[in-house]
């Protein structure tokens, strides 16, 4: 079962292998079919869009940005995002900051965070194998339709119709930061300048939340970001430069399709 919907301005895809039920849980399940489970995921993302969109004046993000809502009085979800933002800022030595030039925008963190929460919705209902992708960031659980590791393609930063690598993933998250579609949309919070030293950075982590927040922050570090990634034991990364040159952390090659 595979469904794609456009939410938060990006396609969100849910893939759940068609099996009767992937795990036996005592008691009743909320989603009797893979379709109903996918619809629950899409509903969850629509709710996240209402709550966190930087483009909707009624969202908590906009109300915090314009000073109408004090961060301390925000919803538990927003406070969780604020806490994780602060943690990410410390973890990356200031390369991640949801407050940029006086404006509040937690988008760099919310997408991965939301995908990981959506995965929890499926997991809580007994699903052990599925993929959830939102705007190129993916949570990968269990095995694919053929009961094999999921095969994830890496899009070329130079041509959206082309792939540079194929990866085999199981119970991991992958996120890619780049500049090619949205223009140069990632800023280095330390200098205020556009981060465009490298074309793309893909990060594989224990889940897509961890992968996404690091991909965003470490992309802003430029070419030295790959060294930062190499020091993190739970992560692997692939950096692609404007000169078509790819650099891997040592574990990354182990994920390549042979």
């Amino acid at each position: 079962m595979r469904r794609t919907e456009l939410i938060m301005g990006m396609p969100i895809t849910v893939v759940i292998p068609d099996r009767e039920r992937q795990d036996s849980l005592p008691g009743t399940v909320k989603f009797p079919t893979t379709e109903s489970a996918a619809l629950a995921v899409f509903d969850y993302f629509r709710g996240i869009d209402e709550q966190f969109s930087p483009y909707k004046p009624e969202s908590e993000t906009c109300r915090i940005d314009c000073g109408e809502l004090a961060p301390g009085s925000a919803s538990p979800e927003m406070r969780e995002v604020l806490f994780l933002s602060e943690e990410t800022q410390k973890l990356t030595g200031g390369y991640f900051d949801v407050w940029f030039q006086g404006r509040f925008d937690p988008s760099g963190l919310v997408k991965g965070w939301a995908i990981t929460h959506a995965a929890q919705i499926l997991e809580d209902d007994g699903f052990i194998s599925f993929c959830i992708e939102a705007g190129g960031d993916i949570e990968v659980r269990g095995a694919n339709e053929e009961a094999k590791p999921w095969v994830i393609g890496l899009r070329s930063p130079f041509d959206p119709e082309k792939l540079t690598h194929r990866l085999l993933l199981q119970n991991r998250g992958i996120a890619t930061s780049g500049t090619y579609i949205r223009g140069e949309h990632i800023y280095n919070p330390r200098t205020g300048e556009r981060a465009n030293e490298i074309a793309s950075l893909s990060v594989i982590g224990p889940n897509v939340f961890e992968a996404d927040r690091l991909a965003t922050a470490v992309f802003a570090m430029g070419a030295s970001g790959i060294e930062f990634m190499a020091r993190l034991p739970e992560f692997d990364a692939c950096m692609i430069g404007w000169d078509d040159v790819a650099t891997f952390t040592s574990g990354f090659a182990g994920h390549l399709v042979p």
Binding site: L6, L163, R166, I181, S250, A253
Partner: protein, 137 residues
């Protein structure tokens, strides 16, 4: 590094190409070549041992020696570690950069999903959905 593509075409700097192949993960990287991610190894090569130039590899300078036998790259020796910048210990956990010579059409590789940078345009999203459908077919 800026002109690495031209150098590979000339065929005169084979070792410069190999400077971009991860030493720590040479075998895995070579598997990547075979699968079509890059096809450096399939170029027509003249047998011999080639020294590379001292090349900047993002985190330092490296120099390699490539061994070509029967027209194929059989060995890469790194004989100058980038130990002149105090960051050389990272080389153990970062593979040396290599050139992606040829990206592959999305539809010609069977994949479950694709990871890439965020996009917002609906037109692009539709185009991508079509690509995804092909990729998953």
């Amino acid at each position: 590094m800026k002109h690495s593509r031209n150098r590979t075409r000339s065929g005169l700097h084979v070792a410069a190409i190999t400077a971009m192949i991860g030493i720590g993960s040479l075998l895995a990287a070579t598997r990547g070549y075979a699968s079509g991610a890059a096809r450096v190894a399939s170029a027509r090569l003249t047998d011999g041992t080639y020294d590379g130039r001292r090349e900047y590899a993002y985190y330092g300078y490296v120099k390699v020696q490539a061994v070509i036998k029967a027209g194929r790259l059989t060995d890469v020796r790194l004989y100058e570690y980038p130990n002149d910048n105090g960051r050389s210990h990272y080389i153990n956990t970062v593979a040396l950069p290599y050139l992606i010579q040829e990206a592959v059409d999305a539809q010609s590789w069977k994949v479950d999903l694709i990871s890439g940078a965020t996009f917002t345009s609906n037109a692009f999203a539709k185009s991508l959905q079509a690509a995804l459908a092909r990729a998953g077919a």
